[in-house]
Amino acid sequence: MMIEKPSLQLHIERILGRTLELVAVPTSLWREWTQSSVAGIDSMSPSGVVMHQSDDAWYLLWKQGTEQSTLMKLESSSLSSQEQQWIELVLMLEHGEQLEQNILTASEEQEAQRVGSWILSSIHERDWKVEIPEHIPWNKQLLGMITPFLLVTEHIHREGPRYQLLKKLVDSYFDGHTFLIPLSEQEWLILVPLALTTADLEDDVDNGESQEELLTSYCLGLHELLTAEWIGESHMTVDYSFIGQKGIPATVAHMRETIFLGRTFHLTEHIHLPWELHIEHLAYSIPDHVRAEYLKRIVKKTEVFHDAETLATLEMYFQQNCSVSETAKRLYIHRNTLLYRLDKIKQETGLDIRSFSDALLIKLVLLLYKVAHSQ
């Protein structure tokens, strides 16, 4: 039975015959103390409810899961060993179920971190197709086909995402067990067994919805969920399903490249899809000297592409599928003003954006300038 917080505090105070000294700490901080060795902390009891520091013992009075955890401080010397054990037992019963869950999650997180480290070192060694070795956790669970998602967070509020919270959201979204692997503080690999999406996938391919369209929907939905239910901004990509045992480093490298290209070429987008970045991929792969020489050859005057107004006009023109009226409407300029700007670009560059081949060249030039700028 769960005892109300004030009542629990009152009971302990009555038994010990003194007023307790209470302190509230962020739950995240307590979790950190319980999950790792932190300087200044002598020991943490295996039950996870008592922390010893110098001559003091800090007891977790109120259960975790809220923003703040309440601790009570007692001098170790003021209590008999039997009294200390009794208090620990009472608090263990109070927090039992949750602590057990925390311990389980903590061990899963440690396993995930080991897998993450192995992936990073494989990428570093450029060992793209290496199989998950026996000693790395989950090597058996990742034998089947999996769909990979890569999440890059930009947590602007307080602490970063916690493993437990993110895992809960992702598992709930896919309605099953997924594999969440931290690659760095801001980068998370999410591996989803194909079984969790297969039924829909086959059904949808039959219904004329392509695999790419369905993966895009999953990615959009997950991003929307994390934006609304989590701590805000993130970038995300998804890739084709693959056999988990074999190609994780290669897939991660590919998804990292997708996010990099997306963020380089489409600054305001948050979902970056490999099947929508083919031309960007091509532009980025052109060697520097070839790019410089090419730009010199096709653009008479480069200044025009450094002008913010011209760049915004061209970006919007392409975004609106080369529609003059829609572009003018979006930019809130008169159609004639837009035509004047386009004529000016023609005069200065020799390229008329209203002709398909020149429009293609201008698009390419814009991409190449973005590559140069990103470097």
Binding site: R158, Y173, T197, Y218, H223, G232, M316, R330, Y332
Partner: protein
């Protein structure tokens, strides 16, 4: 429900020369439907995203209700967002899509059931609850996205161009539905759009933004009839307000606005304001709404001091009204909006008159409306 207050809010992205949002001050009342409108890149979406907690506020304070929320995560702001993409969860049916947020918050099952069904009833999608998103039309998907937001019962709804992906007919329909919904739920809504028609028809108050600055925040009627500057005057209204460059002169005790093909008398009240502000003898911009140009003989007889002649370049008959594209007034094309039964024809020379009581005069340098500043 709650109001939202922005005090001297700025947004500056690292590496950019100039802030994207500059000194925004707004007091959005509880239950108000506020529309942020402006051209692409004006800072409207960035402002909304700062309210949502998706973008960091570089400077200034943001309050939801009485609580300072600059450092509060989106999930703890008690807001619900609906975006242009309205990404639904593809593998869940409509009921599950709407229930998901409540399930995460461990709301009891029967309560979830009640709330989802109530939202579905409001949105008229009860019959779709078992369907997956792929089996829904664009408009139905948008309703589900709204439903997902409604069931959270947030203090504030934030909507970023939620109708942009719909076709024109559906957009018009959803426009009125969202407005009705907001009234029914008695909730605060902050709505971003680039479309001035959406802004005019939906907002209790409209905030017009340009280059990161608020140009004017006022009711639709106030914005349309009393724009503070040339930009707002031109942005609100379609076809846009005519801007005619010319000069103000005093002749025989009357203040006249003159340009090629136009010589009209400014009414006494407005003339006095122009005199008081020393605009006589200066170049100004005359602002005339297309509907304030008349061809009816009765109006022409009653307004001998504002008659002008022009040739009709193009006519556009929209049935209930006809747009006349006129040549011969100043250096600009002027558009007049007349009755759809008009006999006006292309190439014809016509006599028209301006309703001078409704014109605006803008300072040529500052572009401010002389009568409103």
């Amino acid at each position: 429900m709650a109001g939202v207050r922005l005090e001297h809010v700025y947004k500056k992205y690292p590496g950019s020369d100039k802030p994207t949002v500059i000194d925004v001050n707004l007091d959005i009342k509880d239950k108000e439907f506020l529309v942020l409108v402006g051209p692409s890149g004006c800072g409207k979406s960035t402002t909304l995203r700062m309210i949502a907690g998706l973008e960091e506020i570089s400077e200034g304070q943001l309050y939801i209700g009485d609580k300072l929320v600059n450092d509060v995560a989106p999930k703890d702001r008690d807001i619900a967002m609906v975006f242009q993409s309205y990404a639904l969860y593809p593998h869940m049916n409509v009921f599950q899509n709407m229930a998901f947020g409540l399930k995460l918050r461990k709301v009891p099952k029967d309560e979830i059931d009640k709330q989802v069904k109530e939202a579905a009833r409001i949105l008229d999608i009860e019959h779709l609850l078992e369907r997956k998103p792929k089996a829904l039309s664009g408009g139905q998907r948008q309703r589900v996205a709204l439903g997902r937001a409604i069931v959270r019962n947030p203090q504030v709804f934030l909507m970023d161009e939620p109708l942009s992906n719909l076709d024109a007919k559906l957009r018009g329909q959803m426009r009125s539905e969202i407005t009705k919904l907001a009234k029914r739920l008695e909730t605060t809504v902050i709505y971003v759009t680039h479309d001035q028609i959406e802004a005019m028809t939906m907002g209790d108050r409209i905030v017009v933004m340009k280059d990161g600055y608020i140009q004017q925040a006022a009711s639709p009627d106030q914005l349309y009839n009393h724009p503070l500057n040339l930009f707002v005057a031109g942005f609100m209204g379609s076809p846009t307000m005519n801007f005619i460059h010319g000069k103000l002169n005093e002749e025989a005790g009357e203040i006249r606005f003159k340009t090629d093909g136009l010589n009209v008398v400014i009414p006494a009240g407005k003339a006095q304001a122009l005199k008081d502000k020393n605009y006589i003898g200066k170049e100004v911009i005359l602002g005339v709404r297309p509907e304030d140009i008349h061809e009816e003989p009765v109006f022409l007889e009653a307004s001998p001091n504002s008659i002008f002649s022009a040739s009709i370049d193009v006519t556009e008959n929209l049935g209930h009204e006809m747009l006349l594209y006129l040549k011969g007034v100043g250096s600009e094309n002027v558009i007049g909006r007349v009755d759809g039964r008009s006999n006006a024809q292309e190439g014809q020379n016509v006599k028209l008159a301006i309703d001078m009581n409704k014109v605006h005069v803008f300072d040529k340098e500052s572009e401010l409306n002389v009568f409103e500043n």
